[in-house]
Every structure is written in C-alpha cells, then in structure tokens.
C-alpha cells in the first residue's frame, strides 16, 4: 500500500485543498494524482464512508469526513451503493492504515485509485467543518500533485469558472442509460427474495442507491429502473403499480424543469408515487411547490426528523443541499415531516392523491434504519390503490 511507508508523513506535503476564497490547506495525497473541482461539504457519519462515496447524490461534491479515522474497515462489494465512486474526492484527517474487518476485500486507497479520484488527508477537518457550517458550502478543489506541482493558480481559475451546483442538472448525467430490473434483498435479510413479486415499481433514476432497490425488494416490490428522461409512454409501458422517484445530485429545479410534465401526468393517473431526496424535491416541483438552495445542507446519519402525523422522532440519514420551500405548498399538500435541527421541510404528501415523499434517506446505508417503514407504507399505498382499481 503506497500510503504505508515506514517513514511517517512528516515532510513534503503532496496535495492541497484549495477553497474558492483562495485559501489553501496543505496535506498528503491519496488516490489518483490529479485535480478535481466540486462543492465542498461535510458529512458527520461515523460509519459508512464507502456507502457515502458511492452515493450518486455526491456527484460534483468533495466530502469532508468529520470523523478523523476513515478506512478502518476497508472496502467491499456488498457495501457499494452504485457501480462506482460518484464523489469528486474526499478530505480525511488521519492517515490510512491497514484495514481490519471480516468482510473487507481491499483497502480504501486502492478503491480511490480504482475509481480514479484524488483525495487528501492530514487536513484539519474540524477547522474545515466549522468554516463550512459558519460560511456555508463552498466551491473547492483537491489537487494531488503529479509531476506538475504548479497547478494551484490554474486550479483557482477553474474554481472561479465553475458556477457551482445551482442550476446544474447532474441527475441527467448519472442516470442509467439502460433500463434494468433489480432482484436482491437487504443485507443479512432473513427473508428470501421471492421470484414472484406482487407489484411492479418503476423507478426514475436520478442517481439511485442500491439500498433503495434492496428495500423495495424486501417489501415484495419489483423495481425496474428507468432513465429519468423516459417518456410518459415508456414509463406506462412498464406497467407500473407504483412510481418511485429516486435520490440524486444537483439542483432539483434544473433537473425537474425537464421532467415535471411527465411526473404531473403520472400524478393525474392516480398512480402511487414515492420520492426520496431529489425525488422529493422533484415531486414538490410537480405539485407546484418551489425548491431553494440551503445555506448549509444536511449531511450525516444523526438527523432527527419528526413525523408530524404520528409525533414520533426518527433518526435519519441525510444528504441534501437543496430544500422544498414549505411556504410554497398549495392547499392540497400536507407537510408530514420536519427537521428538528433547523425546522426545514422533510416530507410531504398530497391530501387526496396517493403521492408522498421525504427529503431524507429512509433506505439509510449509511445510517439508522428507523424510517424503513416508509417502504412498507409505499407498499400499502400500492396495494390499496390496486384494490380500488
């Protein structure tokens, strides 16, 4: 392993994190020797770095892990949330050491290399986090120096030229090109996945996580994943008993403006719809609500969300930088969930139609499983609807 030379990291910084205001934090490089520009955010989860890195919602973002030791348990196939790392890079405090876990297959640095992303460690991530939480998300770049160490000025220009996540339709880029069907239950599930599922669910892929599909399977739903730009007809052709709007990266308005018409038609058809994260925002847009960029997004596995209909608090996994503005809700929309951290909207449902969505990640991975019940509710909604018809 390259990072584990006997000589500890004392001299010769080999990488830099450059912030949009020109500030440079020096550290040591990991992964591919190259530079990457993205939005710098932080994630406060203590576990699940591999799941976060492979979450497509992190496209065009650089993740600062607040927990200092990352890489302890290595990496493995089962913990992938998609086919590759979608984050642009990550910022870590402590050097990586050998991993240790009975499921581990490889070390984290090899995983970075395989996915060709640059990362940096030896950074005071607490300083960075306090800065981001006080000043809001920032554009930034990681440079892992190769032969050319004089890239910094060039990178500063690149950061300035990049306009950030606002107005960026990233879901369009990460969405699957080929439609596919999914059959694999959640990890260590005691349930055997039945070959005969009761209902078809068509998932519009904005950057879907595998664990969403695993959870749909777990509740006897048969998911088919479609490119987000699929036409109304293409969607109906899959004979859906329910529609699922996935999580994903980027500005919901940029993506949503291209597809809300299709979603509106599906809503009018009275097909049950469930949305998560970007899916929640797009459903909001389709219901004529508005979305906006948050000052400081929610990224972590400890976020309390209150279910306003039951009064119960769920500890949730979150990863979003945009929110649905509850002030823009029409009279037919009910706010179902709210963040106990900052009071922002975390869920909605339509008063009369079978559509609902949440801003957070009930599929977890990483994070607590408190909100798995939403998949069951989706199932029930589909079932009720099927009986009615």
């Amino acid at each position: 392993m390259e990072v584990l030379k006997k000589e500890p990291h004392i001299h010769n910084k080999t990488a830099a994190l450059v912030l949009e205001n020109g500030e440079i934090l020096w550290g040591y490089g990991l992964g591919e020797k190259k530079a990457a520009v993205g939005e710098l955010c932080f994630n406060t989860s203590q576990t699940g770095y591999q799941e976060a890195l492979s979450d497509p919602s992190y496209t065009k973002q650089i993740i600062t892990f607040t927990f200092p030791h990352i890489g302890i348990v290595g990496t493995n196939q089962e913990d992938q949330e998609s086919k590759k790392i979608y984050a642009d890079g990550c910022v870590v405090n402590q050097p990586l050491s050998e991993y240790s876990n009975w499921r581990a297959e490889n070390d984290l640095n090899s995983y970075f290399l395989k996915n060709k992303i640059p990362c940096i460690f030896g950074i005071d991530t607490r300083y960075l986090t306090k800065k981001l939480s006080a000043e809001g998300a920032k554009k930034a770049a990681i440079i892992h120096f190769g032969e050319d160490e004089n890239k910094i000025e060039k990178i500063k220009t690149q950061i300035n030229e990049w306009k950030g996540l606002q107005n960026l339709d990233l879901a369009g880029i990460v969405s699957t090109e080929q439609n596919y069907n999914w059959k694999k239950g959640i990890w260590k599930s005691h349930k055997s996945i039945k070959s005969q599922f009761k209902y078809n669910v068509t998932c519009l892929d904005f950057g879907i996580k595998n664990n969403i599909l695993r959870n749909l399977n777990e509740f006897n739903l048969n998911p088919t994943v479609l490119n987000l730009f699929s036409s109304y007809e293409e969607i109906i052709e899959t004979n859906p008993s329910g529609i699922f709007l996935s999580n994903g990266p980027g500005d919901p308005y940029a993506t949503g403006s291209k597809i809300v018409d299709v979603i509106k038609k599906l809503i009018d058809d009275n097909i049950p719809i469930f949305g998560i994260c970007l899916g929640h925002q797009i459903l909001g847009l389709a219901l004529n609500a508005k979305t906006k960029k948050m000052f400081q997004g929610h990224r972590g596995s400890n976020h309390p969300v209150k279910n306003l209909e039951t009064g119960i608090v769920e500890i949730t996994s979150q990863n979003h930088g945009f929110e649905v503005d509850r002030d823009s809700f029409g009279i037919d929309i009910i706010e179902t969930h709210v963040s106990l951290f900052d009071g922002t909207n975390e869920g909605l449902r339509h008063k009369h139609l079978p559509v609902f969505s949440v801003q957070y990640h009930p599929e977890a991975s990483p994070g607590p499983h408190d909100s798995h019940y939403l998949f069951e509710e989706f199932y029930k909604l589909i079932e009720q609807n099927a009986k009615k018809n």
Binding site: F67, V73, D79, D124, R126, Y127, H190, V313
Partner: protein, 1076 residues
C-alpha cells in the same frame, strides 16, 4: 408529552458506598437526577448512605436521608415522607435491588408509591438471566448457549453438555462478583461453588464462552413515545473474557462497517422494547465473532450505569439528566441539547475525536491477589482521555492513569526475551497492552499478536505506529517536525524527553520556542455541525506548520482560578476528593471568579460540563496544566491554581507547576512539603513542644534495623512520599522488619524508609481545621477512631463527636493543632492525625490540604467546610464567612465506617493495617453513638447477630482485653467457641467456652463450622506471621459466607456493645435538613 402532574414528591435511591463495580458515577447520575427533577418543581427525597457524595449535599434534595439502603430503612422513610413515586434507576445495582425488594414485598403498593423510570417487570426480565435469554430468543437475537442452575450437580451436567471453557455468572450480583471463566474441571467446580454462594438467590448461569470475540456496548435512551436514540457506541479493545469495567474501551466503536453497526443499533433498540424499558437509559452489550460477524447479546442494564456515565462524558450528552426527565413524562423532542442549546435532545450525538477509557487497578495493595483479569471486575477506577486520533487518545489515557506511565512504556516483565513476551501475551493482565507494545518492539508481527491476544488488528496497527516512532524519534532527535509528529500521536513530554535523554523542561522550552503547543477543541455532541455554547474542551496537536492553527478554547477576560481534580479513583484517592473539588468550584463561583476544572476521571461530578465554568478533560500532568494555564492567561487574569482539593494527584505536580511560574493558591507548596519532610517536621514539633512518636529514617535495610533497635519494637515502617500508606507495615521484631524494609525500599521513590515508634492500643484522633490568612482558625471536626492507632485512618471507623475523649484532652488537641497550623502558615484546610496513649497525646501526621474526612465532617456538622476553605484560600476572612452559617452544638453522633473490596480479590487476607485497603465509606447518624454505629454497620452490609455462637481467637498480648467482651456476650446469651488457647484462657476466667479445632488441627475445624452456619460472629486478632497464616482461612470464609468479623479488640468491643444496645434501642430517622 409534558411532565406528569399526578406525582409531586419523588424518592431517589442512591448507590451507597463506593465499591468495585459501583463508583462515583452514581453520584454523578444521582446528582443530575436530583437537580433536574428539582428544577421541574418536584419535591425530592433522597436516600444514600455515602456521605462523600455531592448528591447528599442538603441543597440538592428537599429531604436528604443518610441512612442504610435497606428495605427496612427505605420503608421507614416512605412512611415519613409519603412520596408519590420512586426512581430506582440512578443508584446502580444497589438501588435496583432494594427497589425490587420493596416491590416484591408489596411495600410500594401498601404506601401507594409508583415506580418510575423502570418498571418491575422490565427489571426482572433484564436481571433474571434465563428470562432474559428467553426474551432475546423471542425477538430473534442469539445469546451464548447457557443454563441456569441452582446446585453443583446440575452444574456438572451442564459442563458435560456445553464443554469448557465456560463462563459462570451469579445472578443479581454487582460487577460480576463471584463469577469467572473456567478453563479446567477444578476451576469449574470452584467457580460454581463460589458463584452459588455469591448470588443472593443461589443461582448461577453457566454459559458457553465467547472469549476472544469482539465486544461492543450501545447506550440507548428511550422515551414514553417509543423514540429511541443511541447516545454512544463503545468498543472494547480487550476482547470478550475480560469484564467490560476492566477492559480498555474506545468510543465510538471503530471497527464496524455501517451495516454491522446498524444491526447492533436495531438490535439494541429491539432489546429495550422487548424488555419493556419504557423510559430512560439502558445499555446493551454484544459480542461479535471476528471471523464471520455472528452477533450474540450478552446482557443489558435497565438503568444508568458506569458506561452511561462514560458515554455522557465521551459525547457531552447528559444521559442521567435526560433519563430523569423522561421518567416524569417528557419526550426527547421536548428536551433541549444542553451543549448546543439550539438542537433538541432527540438526536444521536456524533463525535469527531476518539475517546479511550483505561481502568485503574490497585493490585499492589492486595498481596496475594490474582491480578489476571476475568469476568469479575477488579479495577477500582478509570481514566478517560480524548484525542483526535486513537494514537493520541490512548497515549493520553496511559498518561492519565497515575501509575507513573508516560505513554506506551515498557511493561514490568521478568525479561523481555521472546518467550517471556509470548507467554505474557497469553495472560489477560492489566498491563497486557503494554506487553503488546513490547512484543512489537522486539519484532513480533501484528498477525502473530492478533492470533494470541485477539486484539483487533486495526488497534495493533495503530499501536505499531506509536512504537515504530520511538526509533525515528531517537534517530532524528530534537527537530520541529519530528516533535510535532510525536505530539500528534500522543507522546507526552516526559516520554519524549526520556527517549531523547533530555530534561522535560528543556523539551518544553524547545516546544515553546518552536510554537509547538496544543490547540483545544470542543466536545460538542455534533462534530462541529452546530455552534456550541458549552466550553467542554480537550487538547490535541491536530495542526501543522503550513496550515491555520485552529483553537476553540477562547478564554474569557474574567478573573479565574484553575482547580486540579483527583484523577482516576484508586484506594486512598476516592470520591472524597472529587467532592472537595466540586465544592471549591461552587465557592469560587459564588465569589464571581471563573472556575476552570482539569480532570480525567469520567465517573465524577467535577467533570460534569455544568459544574465548573470551563472544563478541560485532560491528564493531570504538569505538562497539560502548564499548557492550559498558558492558554487561559492569554486573556483575563489567572489568579492561580488550587492543588489542595484533589488529594495526592495534584500535589505531586505542585512543585513542578510552581517552578514553571504558576501561582499555587492558599497554603504554600513549601508548607505542604514541610509536613511531608519528617526531619523538618520533627524539628517544628520539637520547637512547639509537641510530642510525636519516636522516629527516624534510614536508607538501607541494615540502617533500618539499627534505628528500630534504638526506638524499640514494635515499629511502623514505610517508604516516604506515598499515598494511602502504601507498603506501610508494623514490625514486631527484627525478622518482620527485615522483609518489610526490603519491600518499602522498592516502592520508595527516593530510597528513604521512615521508622516510627508504634503506639500499641492507642486511641487515634483525626482533626480537620480551616485557617485563614489572618490566623483565624475554625475547628471543623474532631473524630475519634474506633480501631486503634496503626490501622490506616482511611480504613478505621470513626465517630464525630468523639465518644470517649474528655473535653480537656480535646482542648489540648485543638491547642496543638492550632500551633502547628500557625507555624507552617496554613491557609485553607489542614488535617491532623493524633494518638492518645496512657493519657498522653502524640501528633502522628499533618496534611495541610483537604483530607478524606472533609465530606464526612461537612455532613455531620451541616457546614460546607470545603467551600469555606476555598473562599479562605482566595483571601476571604474566616469570620465573615462563618457569619453566614449557623454553627450549632451537635445533637447527634455521626459514625463513618469503611467498606472493603476483599470479596473481589481471591487469596487476599482481610487483616487491617497501616496500608489503606478500603474503597469507600458509609455514614450512620443517630442520637447515640451506638445507634449511629449500628446504622453504619448495616449500611456496609455487616448485620450484627442478636443471638447464636461467637467464635473467638485472640493473640496472647490481647487476651486480657477479651474478658470483658466475652463476659458481655455471655450475658447476652451467646454461645462462645474458641480455639484451644483462647478457650482455656476464657474458661480459666470462668467464661464457659467450647473448643473447636484450628484448621491445621484437622476436621471438624472452625472453617467447617463457619461453612455449616454454626457461627454468627467472628472475633479474631493476630499478631505473629504464623498466627496470621493459620487464621487466614477463618477470615476468608467469614467473608465469603457473609459472617460479620472483627480483627481488632477495639472494633470487637464496640460491636458487642452495639449488640447489647440493639436489644433496647430504636433508631431515629431524620433528614439532614431537619437535623441541622
């Protein structure tokens, strides 16, 4: 849901004395519960027998009862107070057990008292091992296969089915007492017998061993709406097989993937639901097979615990406080996160540092104790440390232990050849991680070590990183980058300087010149996501030369005082000192001075983030104090440091910090030294014409023998500068002395042995006074010991006021003590120990600082003497402070009794001596001395018999003193049984006594009689080494079978008087608030 309005008055049950497995964490949780429920407007009634607690301060409850925590006493208090509810979850196993007794005997029902915080069914389900296992199986969780048995025969059957090694766990005992892992047949039978005896229900669980599996704990909080949160996950570095209280642990758990972690999370919540813990905190323990991830549930505690205290300190989330509020009906989303004050309590803390807890052992105090770690807890305290990496954290942890470790030091081994190390690695000892370090030093691989020890490889890699750096440091020497790197991975200054062979202050100077200083970071529950309002800080070197040096300490511009805490609990250094520190904080706060606490003991009230204005969770080393001082003085004015409240820990570094230019407030370090320096102290006493026992010092064994001859036997020998009478012994002859002096020389830091004339059968007196800068003196308390001088004062029972010392003698004592205080210019507290023999008074020892007796005196008199002392130390006049207090004549007797951990240490003798052995204390308060004494005995579980047989065995010198005692026993209708010598002596004095064999004389002997329940009380004094050996099994058996025993004439006399007294007297039960 808002708080309950159907209850108004709540009875909170405390945990009683400090014992192994139940330390001051329950003062921390109990104090939090009292405060928070009082804030909610409830009337609080409290019972606790331990006077050295903050929770028993009269301000914390409306009615505070210092009474034995037994069913009978609690019922009487219920009758007096008529509470609506009882909160059983704050006082450890003690409170849980007594509450269940009250419930099962329908006493709660009779008086209409509701149990809140946990319901009896849930407690029963969690505590009964078989029911618990069944419940786990019902929710699809596995437990190690096991059977509950009640007899040895059943045990053998189980052994044949499950196969060794097997774990034996007695039901309903504390800290795994009486349990262990059996690897062979003999050990198995032995453990089963012991376990059956130790269990109050004579029930043990025999369980398939999962030794070597990974061990995890989850701290869960649940409210009445079924909201559940995990406050903290804790991973044991020591794998299964070592009691979690004896294991080195880290938080958060480090070696689990998210998928595995979430399974534990789900399972622990499921466990709470199944067991039916409706509200409050619980912890659930898991074992995980490192090969395939198989999970077993080990146990759960339906109450706050030692680990919940640790979790609270590790995350900043006050579990006990929140649990108390949930118990009265609040839900998590209605409560606020105290640290951020902007977010609710219903979230899961997330942290961006690594916390390490390392247990503190005191095997050196218990000769003959087996120091291997098992499933029965043996540690007496713990230190917690925080760092930005595991490396930094664990090395700070070693530094905090007060063993003199500077980091990953060399273990104590016979030799460091490979074979020794390989065999040492197999033993689960308290120094095993240091052995791992040594193994890495000699080149063993991580894989090899993992195979033997089962320590997770990740921890081993990190330790290797620390060890490997030793060579680099040696090689590269004093260079900026090298030193910063060393600091980053937790090397202390003393470690670095010893490796580089330079003086510690040279290194400090180099660091200061190179701007290599720590930064301070906040413990904020949220990994920096939100701004936090509470200055709870730790140090780290997580910065480097090229980048911004980010520090969150932000000292205020106020006048401030730094208070040094007591560090980890150990024998001789217990909760009393934390009590004193907390009071010093309160006093200075009242004066408007900002208080800064430094301590590393997570069990304490002093490390509660809302005790001091600012809290630094750091080792109590000169290095960390100096760094904190420098940071704090960068803004505002640091008036100085208080070192006199935290016991020996801060005193040890007082000189060093003073040399670094830091002002020590109150009595000077010079005066403290003077009292420790025998020669200079003797000179002062001579000058003041005050008598002391003849004394001398020596540097060699032969010199010792010579000096002892001059003084005359018996003599008391001890090394200078040690805590709690370590290696202190009484030698009756030359042979004795020779072996003792060798031992004393070994532990003495400066090769000096002190030799004192031993005053046999003298009365011992303790005096606590406060003196101010003008020379005003307040005598806070004069205490008479029940055991004779020569028994360590921390181990003796004592009475305040004295029960047999004349007013005249007391006045003389006050005169002498005042003279000494004036002479050495004490400002603050001073404790003096004196002896009275043949009406002559001798001064034994002076400690110009807070002593162990301060809380007891404060509770007895109803005056906060530690607080008064702290105010005096920052310059206030004693008289003006005392004006605020009513100082009444005492209407009661107050008796303090000590509590010992002998039942935790197999093979250890129970004889008391000049070396302290007790872990805690209880207090009895009543109108007569004997009533108070009896209460103190009940409170420490010593139930005196009212009839039956008394076994007596007395050494020759003391035989004359037993007559009176034996006669009284006869008058009280007891049968007497004695070994031949004593029996003949008694019979010749017309006291009819039956003879029983000594053990060496063959069956049936006295130990058989003890086991057969034929003896109800044991009086056994010994003097010669051979008689001590002969009678060892008598004392040990008495202990194991809970038969009260007395090893001194003085103790026996009072006990027998007490038995007589019990026949006619009733107890009076009054709260502190009505007494004073």
């Amino acid at each position: 849901m808002p708080k309950r309005t159907d209850i108004n008055k709540i009875l909170i049950v405390g945990a009683g004395p400090i014992v192994i497995g139940q330390a001051c964490e329950f003062d921390y949780s109990g104090a939090q519960a009292c405060k928070s429920l009082k804030d909610e407007g409830y009337k609080i009634v409290l019972i606790n027998s331990n006077p050295a607690t903050i929770m028993t301060d009269p301000e914390l409850a409306d009615q505070t009862y210092i009474e034995p925590i037994t069913k009978e006493f609690v019922e009487k208090i219920i009758e007096i107070e008529k509470p609506d509810a009882l909160l059983p979850t704050m006082g450890g196993q003690t409170a849980l057990n007594v509450s269940m007794e009250l419930f099962n005997n329908r006493i709660l029902e009779k008086h209409g008292v509701k149990m809140i915080g946990a319901n009896p069914t849930a407690i029963e389900l969690a505590e009964d091992r078989q029911k618990f296992k069944d419940a786990m199986n019902e929710i699809g969780l596995s437990c190690p296969k096991s059977y509950v048995v009640n007899t040895i025969e059943e045990s053998k059957r189980v052994k044949n089915e499950l196969n060794l090694p097997l774990v034996i766990r007695p039901s309903f005992t504390l800290g795994g007492t009486g349990g262990g892992v059996a690897y062979d047949d003999e050990g198995f039978i032995d453990l089963c017998n012991r376990g059956l005896n130790a269990s109050p229900t004579n029930q043990i669980l025999i369980e398939k061993s999962v030794s070597g599996w990974k061990e995890f704990e989850m701290e869960v909080v649940r409210d009445n709406k079924d909201n559940c949160i995990i406050v903290c996950s804790i991973e044991n570095v020591d794998p299964m097989g070592v009691h979690t209280g004896d294991s080195i642990t880290v938080a958060p758990s480090l070696t689990l993937t998210d998928k595995e972690y979430q399974i534990l999370r789900n399972a622990s919540i499921k466990v709470l639901r199944k067991i039916g813990v409706d509200t409050g905190g619980s912890n659930v323990q898991f074992a995980i097979n490192p090969e395939d991830g198989e999970i077993n549930v080990i146990e759960m505690n339906p109450r706050v615990s030692r680990s919940s205290a640790l979790a609270s300190k590790a995350t900043g989330f006050p579990i006990a406080k929140i649990a108390a509020k949930l118990a009265v009906g609040y839900t998590l989303d209605e409560l606020e996160n105290d640290i951020t004050t902007t977010t609710p309590a219903s979230f899961e803390p997330t942290i961006d540092y690594v916390v390490t807890k390392i247990p503190r052992f005191t095997f050196e105090k218990f000769v003959g104790a087996n120091s291997d770690l098992t499933t029965s807890m043996k540690s007496v305290g713990e230190a917690m440390s925080i760092g930005r990496s595991f490396n930094e954290s664990i090395q700070k942890g070693f530094n905090s232990l007060e063993y003199g470790l500077t980091g990953f030091d060399n273990p104590k081994l016979r030799s460091n050849d490979k074979n020794t190390i390989l065999s040492e690695l197999k033993i689960q000892s308290s120094q095993r991680l240091l052995v791992v370090g040594e193994a890495l030093r000699i080149g063993l691989s991580v894989d090899e070590i993992n195979k033997i020890t089962k320590y997770d490889k990740w921890f081993l890699y990190q330790i290797k990183r620390i060890i490997d750096f030793e060579e680099i440091l040696k090689d590269k020497g004093l260079k900026k980058e090298i030193i910063l790197y060393a600091k980053k991975i937790g090397y202390s200054d003393s470690k670095i300087s010893s490796i580089l062979n330079i003086k510690e202050n040279e290194l400090r100077e180099f660091r200061n010149n190179s701007d290599i200083n720590p930064v301070f970071r906040l413990v904020d529950t949220c990994a920096g996501e939100f701004s936090s309002k509470t200055p709870y800080l730790y140090s780290t070197y997580d910065w480097d030369f090229e980048n911004t040096k980010f520090c969150e300490a932000n000292p205020t511009s106020k006048d401030k005082v730094i208070i040094l805490g007591g560090g980890p609990n150990r024998i001789g250094q217990g909760i009393e000192f934390d009590y004193c520190c907390v009071h010093a904080v309160y006093a200075l706060k009242e004066k408007g001075i900002e208080t800064i606490m430094i301590n590393c003991n997570p069990e304490t009230v002093s490390t509660d983030y809302d005790t001091a204005d600012r809290l630094y969770f750091e080792p109590l080393s000169a290095e960390s104090v100096i760094e904190i001082y420098n940071k704090e003085k960068s803004n505002g004015n640091v008036l100085g440091v208080l070192v006199q409240f935290g016991g020996q820990t801060p005193l040890k570094i007082a000189k060093e910090i003073e040399e670094a230019g830091i002002k020590v407030i109150g009595t000077s370090t010079e005066a403290i030294d003077l009292a420790e320096d025998r020669d200079r102290f003797s000179e002062i006493l001579m000058k003041l014409k005050i008598a002391q026992p003849k004394n001398a010092f020596a540097n060699t064994v032969s010199q010792t023998l010579e000096k002892a001859k001059e003084i005359g036997y018996p003599v008391l020998v001890r090394p200078s500068y040690v805590l709690g009478g370590r290696a202190m012994q009484i030698a009756y002859d030359k042979d004795n002395l020779e072996s003792f002096s060798n031992e004393a020389l070994e532990v003495s830091s400066n090769n000096v042995i002190l030799i004192d004339e031993y005053l046999e059968n003298a009365k011992e007196i303790d005096v606590d006074i406060i003196r101010d800068k003008n020379g005003e003196i307040f005598v806070a308390g004069i205490m008479e010991h029940i055991e004779e001088a020569g028994i360590h004062s921390g181990d003796s029972a004592c009475s305040l006021p004295p029960y047999s010392v004349s007013k005249e003698t007391q006045n003389k004592i006050i005169e002498w003590v005042s003279k000494i205080a004036n002479e050495i210019n004490v400002i603050g507290l001073m404790n003096t120990q004196l002896a009275i023999k043949d009406k002559k008074i001798y001064v034994l020892e002076v400690n110009p600082r807070a002593s162990r007796t301060v809380p007891f005196v404060a509770k007895s008199k109803g005056i906060p003497i530690a607080k008064i002392a702290a105010k005096v130390m920052v310059g206030e006049n004693l008289n003006s402070i005392l004006n605020d207090y009513k100082i009444n004549e005492l209407k009661n007797f107050n008796v303090k009794e000590s509590v010992f951990p002998f039942n935790k240490f197999d093979g250890v003798d129970l004889i008391l001596g000049p070396e302290m052995k007790s872990t805690g204390e209880v207090m009895g308060i009543d109108e007569t001395f004997l009533s108070s004494y009896i209460k103190s005995q009940i409170a420490c579980g010593n139930i005196l018999p009212s009839k039956g047989t008394v076994f007596i065995s007395i050494d020759n010198d003391n035989k004359k003193f037993i007559i009176e005692i034996a006669q009284k026993l006869k008058e009280l209708d007891f049968n007497l049984l004695a070994t031949k010598g004593t029996a003949e002596y008694l019979n010749s004095n017309n006291i009819k006594t039956k003879i029983v064999n000594k053990v060496k004389e063959g069956n049936p002997h006295v130990v058989d009689s003890l086991i057969n329940n034929e003896i109800q009380l044991v009086i056994n004094t010994t003097k010669t080494q051979s008689s001590i050996r002969d009678s060892y099994s008598i004392r040990r058996t008495s202990l194991m079978y809970n038969i009260p025993y007395y090893t001194t004439i003085a103790g026996a006399k009072v006990a027998v008087d007490a038995i007589e007294h019990m026949k006619t007297q009733e107890f009076t039960i009054k709260s502190l608030q009505t007494i004073n």
